[in-house]
Each structure stands twice: as C-alpha cells, then as structure tokens.
Amino acid sequence: MALAACLTAAVARWRWAPDWAVAVAAAAIVVASGALSFHGARSAVSALGPTVGFLAALLVLADGCRRAGVFDALGGLMASGSHGRPRRLLGMVFLAAAGTTAVLSLDATIVLLTPIVFATAARLPTNPRPHVYAGCHLANSASLLLPVSNLTNLLAFTACGLSFTRFAAVMALPWLVAIGIEWLVLTRVFADDLREAPGGAHAAPPAEPRLPRLALGVVGLTLAGFALSSIVGIAPVWFAAAGAVTLTVAQRPPSLADLLGAAEPTFLVFVLGLGVVVEAAGVHGLSSVVRSLLPTGASLPALLAVAAVSAVLANLVNNLPATLIVVAVVSASAPGGVLAMLIGVNVGPNLTYVGSLATLLWRRIIHAHDEEVDVAQFLKLGALTVPVTLVAATASLWLALQVL
C-alpha cells in the first residue's frame, strides 16, 4: 500500500502532495504501524545514506561543470567535429553522451547535455531528431560503465562486491555493445534525417571552443580517485565529495540556494523514503515473490533471466524501486546477478519513453490531445533496441566474467 502510494505520488505529481513528502509520510506510517521495526528502518536509511550522499556530490559536480561551461564547450566540439555533416554530428553526440553519462551520470546527459545537443544540431542547421533521440537513449543505455553512471549502479555497487575499477572492467564490454546497437539502430531508423545536404556541408566552420580546463581537471582527478579508491582504502564517495567541493570553491561560488538546488534535496529525501518503504515491502513478502521469479547462479541463462525480469519490472514500476526490490534478492549471486540486474534496469527504461507503464497510462489520459513527444516513435525505437541490447549486453557480461 505504502509502496503504491509512493509510486502514485511520483507518477501523478500532485501539487498538494509532492512525491518526497508522500515517500516520507509512507515511510513514517510503515514504521508507526509496525510493518517495519524502527531498527529496520534505521538500518535501511543508514545503508542508503552514503549512496544518497554520493548522488548529491555527483549532482553538484555536474552542475559545477555546467557553470564552468563544460557542456557549452562540448556543444562547440560537436559542431566543429561534425564538419557540418549530420552523420558525423551524430557520431560526436554519441561520444559526448556516452562519456557524459559514464562519468557524470545520466542526469547530466538528460538535463544538461540534451538541450545543448538540440541547439548544436539546430544551428548546423540539420534536423535535430536523430541527435536528440540519441541523447535520450544513451542516457540509459550508456549508463552501464561505471558505478557513478546511474543511481541504480550506486544502489547496487556495494551489493556487487566489486572494486570501482573491476566494475568498470567487467561492464566495459556490455557498455560498448549497448552503444554499438544504439548506433546501428538509430542510423538506420533515422537514415532520412542523417542524409547530407547535396553539394556537401554548407555550414561555416564554428570557432574552436575554449575548454574549461579547471573543471575537466577536477573531473579527471575525481575519476582517478575513484580508480584508486580500493587501493588506498578510501570509499569512492569521498572522492566525489572532494571533487564537488573543489569545483565549487575554485569557481565563482554559486549562491547557497543554487548549490542546494543542484543537489536536488527533495529527490534525495524521496530516495531515502522509498528505500524504507521497499524494505518493509520486502520483509512482508515482496522479496520472496521476486526470489521465486529469479534464478540464482551465474550461468548465461540465469543472467539473461535476471536482466529480463529486471527490465520488465523497471517498466512496470520504474527502475529505481525495481533496483531496490531486486538488488536484495540478487546480491546472493553477486557479482554476475547484480550486474545483469543493472543491465535490465538501466537499458529497460528505453522501452517506454516515460519510464514505466504506470506513467505511460497516466500521461496518455492527461495529455490525450496535446502536442507532446511522439510516444509511438519512442516505443518503436525502444522495441528495436532494448530486447537486442538486453541479450547482447548480458551475453557480453557473461563473457567478461569468464575472461576477467
């Protein structure tokens, strides 16, 4: 009931009942009614605490990069590297979106990069359709590489029991495979829009952008810190925090309100509340239902089943609750099971534009007639990419686990 209330509030976005408040209230009711002991709730919150802190640091780091002009510079690089050719621009967008998603998380790609991609394509001028779709799709499918690429990865990072570098090494092949499939499908589906203007490119070559070295240096050092974290014995979250603080202090400091806004406190509270509610649902039978659905072990069929069930669940209830529900069950077959789950919950959301069936139905009822996103085209693209990617990325995960 509490889980349903949280999800409904997050999907419906009522003004009078913000999703974070509903999540906190639901968590409080769960504890007050005895559905979850106070001790259980406290351990759920303290288990999620570092992850939420990690996420906040990443959000602040990404916003610092925006203020330093990293994304504008990426736009300039994409424009100059494209030489006015739509297909080359799509290649540049793939590089920028895959890199941004991997390093600064999918939120950075969605909120900060995709509008820049639109502006870059529109100013070329070329039809921005394939480039914008690429940004949206890669935010999900290119979020497999690093533990910091997606909140779902952060939530499952501890459970998978791998170091930061080993996570990256094992997920590198699935990540490349997922990006490769996106390229093959997008360049075919949007072949019309990627055709070059007759007579070659007409656009004047844009000026080479000035790269914000400080911000890129801080991001580079933060990444190096992540890589060294297991060797020096310091948790990666501290390197993320150090990076966020350094970048904030080193530039003209933003106002406190802007800084807090960048960290999205309501979202962090929502995640904590949802964590408590899912914990309670898990104790009261949800975990055993999921356990009965999921095979254990690291055989290829078992990994494929985990990825498929996770993808379906992510599309039914959204990938955040899906991760919280599944991770507790698959941690028994870590790391293979956990990583296969991540392929499911990260790639799966591309199947429906809105992220879950519930949202899709809701939005269709509310916005039946307005000029919104072409959901049919998004669904078609999802149908062409997601099932293939799930199978191919999981198979390459299985291969990586055998070899590495």
Binding site: A122, R129, G135, D192, E196, A197, T266, V354, V373
Partner: protein, 160 residues
C-alpha cells in the same frame, strides 16, 4: 497562382532554386518551414519517467527560443536566395500535419524529396510521402541533387 514552397534543413537551397525556375513570375509565393515540436518536447523533457526528479531547466535560451531563432534565420536566408517577393511562414507542430494545413489555400506546393538519392520509392522521405499522398493541391516534387541516370535504375522484374 498561389504557391507554397516547403523547405527543410538538408535541401532548402535546391528546393528554392528549382522553385524559382519553375514558378511563374507573377506567382504569389510563400516559403514555409515547420519546426517539429515532438523533437523539441523530447529535448526539453528527455526523461519524464525519471521518478522523483524535478529538474530545473538550465539557464540560457530555451529549446523553443533556439528553435524559433533558427527557423527565422533559415527562412530569411531562403527568401533572400529566392530573390523574388515572397512571404515567409514559420509553423510549429507535427510536420506533415502542419504542411497540409498550410497548403490549404495554395494552388501548388513545391517540396524536395528528402530521401535516398536513387530512383526508387525511398527517394521520398516519410513526411514528404504523407504530404504528397494527402495534399489537395498540385504538388511539385523536386530532386535536391542531380538524379542518377535512368540506366542506374533498378527496374522491377516485370519491366526488365
């Protein structure tokens, strides 16, 4: 004669040049560009299903402002290239529907094929195909590059 020239980013130069050659001097010409709002909506809300997130749009011009400015600039360049008196119209929405609605009072619609540069059905893009199929006026379909010769064409078996 009222003529509507529908221009798109990849082919507007060729489309304007051919229209200038084909349309009579006295024609009342309107040049049309349509911004696809479904793409704009996607660029602005690329992840609406992302539970619990309430992203603020980054500062700077909005997607809508960028799109409007680019449409105006393209139409301005096209009108200049046309070199004869012409009105320009920027519409927003689903592309094929907007073009059909804009062509309601026109006698002739000029458009570029915007598809494969070969003599085959795919030489007409999907929006162009819809417009040609449903237009109420005469439609002039121009190549945006020199078409390959007839000898390069792959004939269907019964015509070989």
């Amino acid at each position: 004669m009222r003529a509507l020239i529908w221009i798109t980013e990849p082919s507007w130069r060729a489309c304007i040049d051919r229209a200038r050659e084909l349309l009579p001097a006295g024609a009342e010409v309107t040049i049309l560009h349509v911004a696809a709002t479904d793409v704009e909506a996607l660029a602005e809300h690329p992840g609406p299903g992302r539970l619990g997130r309430h992203h603020r749009p980054p500062p700077g011009p909005s997607v809508r402002e960028i799109s409007d400015a680019e449409a105006q600039s393209l139409l301005g360049e096209a009108a200049q290239r046309f070199g004869r008196p012409a009105q320009t119209v920027a519409r927003r929405g689903r592309v094929e529907r907007e073009v059909l609605q804009a062509s309601a009072g026109a006698d002739v619609l000029v458009l570029a094929r915007d598809g494969e540069p070969r003599r085959e059905p795919k030489s007409v893009g999907r929006f162009q195909r819809f417009v040609i199929d449903h237009a109420g006026c005469a439609v002039v379909v121009v190549w945006s590059q020199d078409p390959p010769g007839l000898d390069a064409m792959r004939w269907p078996p019964h015509l070989r």
